[in-house]
């Protein structure tokens, strides 16, 4: 599991996507091949906005409640991520911003997985 987590660590720790200069589409996670333009695509890596809004969400009820949401960032790109807040704070449409948080660990002896979550803005 370590190499797979490590390989994309840059994109887990911060919000980055790709932008195709040919078609003007953004993609998350970053792609090195534009799925719209294929060979004609001219893809470059871009920073994504820190904030967005919740389009939909769920609260997983297995042990500690875990909020997983579909978030639309301010440039229109969408991302499935976790919300780090109390379930009572969530509703469709709330504004959220990125936060750096722990996702989990590979057991007590394994590595700790960090990544981007979202918290209610303000």
């Amino acid at each position: 599991m370590v190499p797979r987590f490590w390989r994309k660590i840059k994109y887990r720790y911060d919000l980055k996507g790709s932008y195709c200069e040919n078609c003007g589409n953004y993609h998350y996670p970053p792609r090195n091949f534009c799925p719209v333009c294929r060979r004609r695509g001219r893809v470059k890596e871009v920073e994504l906005p820190d904030e967005g809004r919740v389009l939909s969400y769920t609260i997983i009820r297995e042990g500690e409640p875990c909020i997983v949401a579909l978030i639309e960032l301010d440039n229109g790109i969408r991302i499935i991520s976790q919300l780090s807040c109390d379930p009572s704070e969530v509703e469709i449409g709330i504004r959220v911003r990125k936060a750096f948080r722990r996702y989990g660990e590979d057991g007590e002896e394994g590595i700790i997985n960090y990544g981007t979550k979202f918290v209610p803005a303000n």
Partner: protein, 384 residues
Amino acid sequence: MRRVAVVGVGCSKFGELWERGFRDIVLEAGAEALADAELEGREIEAMYVGNMSGGRYLGQEHIAALIADYSGLAEFGIPATRVEAADASGGLAVRQAYMAVASGLHEIVIAAGAEKVTDVGDPMEILSASVDMEWEGFVGGNLPALYAIIARMHMESFGTTEEDLAMVSVKNHRNGVKNPKAQFRREIKVDDVLRSPYVAEPLKLLDCASISDGAAAVILASEDVAREITDTPVYIEACTQASDYIALHSRKDILTMKAVVKAARDAYKLARIEAKDIQVAEVHDSFTIAEILAYEDLGFSEKGNGAELIREGVTEIGGDLPVNPSGGLKACGHAVGATGVRQIVELTLQLRGDAEKRQVDAERGLALSIGGTGATAVVSILGR
């Protein structure tokens, strides 16, 4: 391309089959299909097996060869191929077999689907590997969570309610009572669903199909051969497949399964029919919301109006368009790789008039098999 017919079907009991192993249930389904087709076995020229994750559910790879061996077909050295598209693996196995016969490569081919989920590993965790594990799975987006996100958005956008979703489960349980192969053969009430604990809000335990053991098999033959060996061939008028972006965040509209829309459109075109010509359907209700989406994406209703069909009883066994007369994944149990084949078994029985207490009046039926959250869809249209 030649016409292809289903000439024999078989299905094991679905459920928690503690006393029977993977090989046992596959043989049960295969033997039943051979008996149904009145074949000896040596007539089978090739085998396709739908199996999502023998490696993780059983710790056993090389599933197709194993089945060829235990069904006595290794004796003839027939080609045996495992196909995988998560929980659309079964639908895909049928399609591979269909293509092998339609192309003229083979005359008689068996398509099987099998999964034994109670031996090794956590069934939902393994099934959830059908999502984008690096970007959805990593953040906790397992299969129930992603369907729940779709469900909440459907409720928000179209006014679908938790009661509507519950009614799908209630209908399928009611149908399952009449299916001797189903895992759950008891009726439930809307309140039972609503009172069951949340798995991933707004989806509750009774909105989710249980992941179960099971196997199913269908024998396909070319039209000419079919006419020789059976009086009741059921023809595959179309068998199409389509794909979509695997992760929800890559889709422009998560309330439409584009793969389903495309596979259905292609299938209707091939069969030279329209959605309204379908008289019975077996769809992939791994979660109740998935059946509502299926109504819409298959063209049984307008987008957003899927819940009306369940509210008005249209999809009940006695309705205008019965959906999941078998009990669906919800009541039969979702035996992952077997499910797509089981749907073809059910449609064949229905179109032949062999569905006993759950018999509907239909000459043409549709089966929809979905992988994960819809990145793979297989649509089959059968007619008698």
